[in-house]
C-alpha cells in the first residue's frame, strides 16, 4: 500500500509540467552532478588535494586542468574534494534549521500566549541583525572552525523556519479536523504530531530547498573571512580567500568560486521548481507563459 497517495499523486501530476522548464532541468542536472562528485571525489580527482608536489601557480593546462595554487596543489582535485566538505555540511545545516525552527515555530503557533511571545521575540531579535554580521559575530565568539561556522549559520537560519511554520500552524490549528481530534481526547502533542505537522511540511520543505543555496553561501562566506574551515582543508570559501592573495593567477579563486555559484544556482532552481510544482497558482502561470 502506498504511504501517501495524496502527496504522490499531486507531485506526479504536477511535477512534469514544472520540470519541463529549462531552468528546472539545469538545476536538476547540476545538483545531481555535484552530489555524484561529492560521493566519488576520491575516484574522480586526479591528484591528492593536499599534496604540494606540483609546480606552484601553474596556469590551467594538461595535467592540471584548473591550474595549481601557490603551494603547488591541484585546484581541480581540491574543488572536487571541496564538494565533500561543503555539500554535506550545508545539507546537515538546513536539516537542523528546519527541525529546530520548525518545531519552535509549530509550538509558538499551536500553544500561543507566552510560548509564542517568547519564541517569536527571540526570532525577531535574530532578524534584527544583518544575517552575515550576526553569523560572523557568533562564529568569531565560538572560535574559527568549520563546526562552529555551521553552528553560527544555524543561529541565524532557524528563525525563518520558525516564522513560516508558525504562520502555517496558526492557519491550521482551528481547522475542524484538529478540533475533532482534541474532542476525541488527543493530547496536544499527539494533535501536533498527527494532525498539524504533516499538513505544514510541504511549504516548509520548499523553503528549505530554496535555502540550501543561501546556507552554502553563508557557510563559505564565513570560511572566506577566516571564520570557518582552516587550511589545508579544501573548503571553497577558504580557497577563494587564498586566491585573493594571488590575484594575478585568476584560476586560484575563479574555480572554487564557480563551484559555489553552480551549487547555489542548482538548489535555487530546484527550489523554484518544487515551489511551482506544489503551488497550483504559480504552476498555472508557468503554463500560460509556456504557451
Amino acid at each position: 500500500m502506498t504511504r501517501d497517495p495524496l502527496a504522490r499523486r499531486g507531485l506526479l501530476r504536477r511535477l512534469p509540467e514544472a520540470w519541463r522548464q529549462p531552468l528546472a532541468v539545469v538545476g536538476a542536472v547540476l545538483a545531481v552532478a555535484w552530489i555524484v562528485v561529492a560521493l566519488a571525489a576520491p575516484v574522480l580527482a586526479p591528484h591528492d588535494p593536499l599534496a604540494q608536489d606540483l609546480p606552484r601557480l601553474a596556469a590551467p593546462g594538461p595535467g592540471h586542468w584548473f591550474g595549481t595554487d601557490q603551494l603547488g596543489r591541484d585546484i581541480l582535485s581540491r574543488v572536487l574534494h571541496g564538494a565533500r566538505v561543503s555539500i554535506p555540511l550545508t545539507l546537515l545545516l538546513v536539516t537542523l534549521s528546519v527541525l529546530i525552527g520548525g518545531l519552535l515555530g509549530a509550538c509558538a503557533g499551536y500553544f500561543g500566549r507566552w510560548v509564542d511571545e517568547t519564541i517569536m521575540r527571540v526570532a525577531d531579535l535574530v532578524f534584527a541583525f544583518p544575517t552575515v554580521i550576526l553569523a560572523m559575530v557568533v562564529a568569531a565568539a565560538l572560535g574559527a572552525s568549520l563546526g562552529n561556522a555551521v553552528l553560527a549559520v544555524l543561529v541565524v537560519a532557524w528563525p525563518a523556519y520558525a516564522r513560516v511554520t508558525r504562520g502555517l500552524v496558526l492557519g491550521i490549528r482551528e481547522r475542524e479536523f484538529v478540533l475533532s481530534g482534541r474532542l476525541l481526547g488527543f493530547s496536544v502533542w499527539r494533535s501536533l504530531r498527527v494532525d498539524v505537522l504533516p499538513n505544514v511540511t510541504g511549504p516548509v520543505l520548499v523553503l528549505a530547498t530554496l535555502d540550501i543555496g543561501t546556507a552554502l553561501l553563508l557557510l563559505s562566506g564565513l570560511s572566506f573571512l577566516g571564520l570557518g574551515a582552516k587550511p589545508p582543508s579544501p573548503e571553497w570559501g577558504a580557497m577563494v580567500a587564498s586566491g585573493v592573495e594571488v590575484f594575478d593567477s585568476w584560476w586560484v579563486a575563479t574555480f572554487p568560486g564557480l563551484a559555489i555559484l553552480t551549487v547555489v544556482l542548482a538548489f535555487n532552481f530546484l527550489g523554484d521548481t518544487l515551489r511551482d510544482a506544489l503551488d497550483p497558482r504559480t504552476a498555472r502561470a508557468i503554463k500560460e507563459r509556456a504557451l
Binding site: 495524496l6 475542524e176 479536523f177 478540533l179 475533532s180 481526547g185
Partner: protein, 302 residues
C-alpha cells in the same frame, strides 16, 4: 434529569479594540438522552457559538453548561477526558485530516471509547459506506461521503451527546436529508442525545423531537416539533415557517422576513425581535421577555 442542560448561557467574542460581541445572550436549553433537539435560526444568531460552547471550544462568559451532572470545562492544553460529547462540523472538507487514511481517523474514535472489538470498516458500514473505504484518503470522497465519515468517527467514540453544527448545510440537496436522517437514527439507536443545528426548518422537522428557535443570541421558542410546526406562536417562528419555499408549482416566492438580524454588538432595547415584528406593542420596546417556552409578550405565561 436531562443529559445536557444549558442555563442562561452568555458567550462573548472579544477582540482587542472592539466592543465585545454577545453571540449568545442568555440562552437556556436542555437535551435528554435519546432525544433529538433541532436548533434553528438565521445566520449569525449564535447557533454555532452555542454548539461550540457546549463542546468547550468557546469560553463561557456567564451561565452554565452541565453535561451529565458535571460542568463542561473549556478545551485547554490538557488532554480531554470528557469524550461523551462529540461534534460533527459544518465543513466536510475541513473535517478530516487530508494526510491520513479514513480508517485511521475512524480508529481514533474507537481508541477513545477503548473499543477493541469494532473495526473502522464496521463503522463505515453503519454510516452506509463500503468497508474498503477505510483504506482511502479523504480527497477521494464527496462532501456527503466525508460527512458520513466524520459521523462514523464521532460515533466510534460512543458519545452520549452528539452535536451537529449545521452538518448538512454544505451538502447537495439530495444528500442533506439522508445525512440528517442518518445522524438521527444512529444517535437514537445508541441512546445518545442529538443537538442538531440547522437553518433548514424543513429538514429539522423530519428528524427532531423538539425544536428550539434562536434569535440574536436567545432561544425565543421551544416546543415539540409537531406543535411548533402546526402552531408556531412566536412571531419570529411564524415568519421562519412562512419563509420555507413550497414546491406547489405556483412559482410563488416565500413570504419575506423584513429586515436583517440586528448587530449583536448593540441589540435592540426590549424584545430583540421588536424592530422586525408585525405585532409590536409598547411593552416590547421597553422590556425583554425573559420567560419561556415562548419568549414573547403575546404569550406571557400567567
Amino acid at each position: 434529569m436531562s443529559l445536557l442542560s444549558v442555563d442562561d448561557l452568555v458567550v462573548e467574542h472579544r477582540s482587542p479594540g472592539r466592543p465585545a460581541v454577545r453571540a449568545v445572550a442568555g440562552a437556556s436549553l436542555t437535551v435528554s438522552a435519546g432525544e433529538v433537539v433541532g436548533l434553528v435560526g438565521e445566520s449569525g444568531c449564535g447557533k454555532s457559538t452555542l454548539a461550540r460552547a457546549v463542546c468547550g471550544l468557546n469560553p463561557v462568559t456567564a451561565g452554565s453548561i452541565t453535561f451529565d451532572g458535571q460542568p463542561v470545562t473549556p478545551l485547554g492544553l490538557r488532554r480531554r477526558r470528557l469524550t461523551g460529547i462529540q461534534m460533527v462540523f459544518q465543513d466536510p472538507y475541513a473535517s478530516l485530516n487530508p494526510r491520513r487514511l479514513v480508517g485511521d481517523q475512524v480508529a481514533d474514535g474507537l481508541r477513545t471509547a477503548r473499543d477493541t472489538v469494532t473495526s473502522p470498516a464496521d463503522l463505515l458500514e453503519r454510516v452506509g459506506l463500503p468497508r474498503e473505504f477505510a483504506g482511502r484518503h479523504p480527497h477521494e470522497f464527496s462532501g456527503g461521503q466525508r460527512q458520513r465519515i466524520a459521523i462514523a468517527r464521532a460515533l466510534a467514540a460512543r458519545p452520549r451527546l452528539l452535536i451537529g453544527d449545521e452538518p448538512i448545510s454544505a451538502l447537495d440537496a439530495s444528500a442533506q436529508s439522508q445525512v440528517a436522517r442518518l445522524m438521527r437514527d444512529l444517535a437514537v439507536d445508541a441512546g445518545a442525545g442529538l443537538l442538531f443545528i440547522s437553518h433548514d426548518l424543513s429538514v429539522v422537522r423530519l428528524i427532531a423531537d423538539r425544536i428550539a428557535v434562536m434569535y440574536l443570541g436567545r432561544i425565543v421558542e421551544v416546543g415539540d416539533t409537531a406543535e411548533v410546526w402546526a402552531d408556531p406562536r412566536h412571531p419570529y417562528t411564524k415568519a421562519l415557517l412562512r419563509a420555507i419555499p413550497k414546491p406547489d408549482g405556483m412559482g410563488v416566492l416565500p413570504a419575506e422576513l423584513p429586515g436583517d438580524v440586528p448587530d449583536p454588538v448593540n441589540p435592540p432595547q426590549g424584545c430583540r425581535f421588536h424592530p422586525r415584528c408585525p405585532h409590536v406593542m409598547d411593552v416590547c420596546r421597553g422590556k425583554e421577555p425573559d420567560f419561556g417556552p415562548v419568549a414573547c409578550w403575546l404569550h406571557e405565561p400567567r
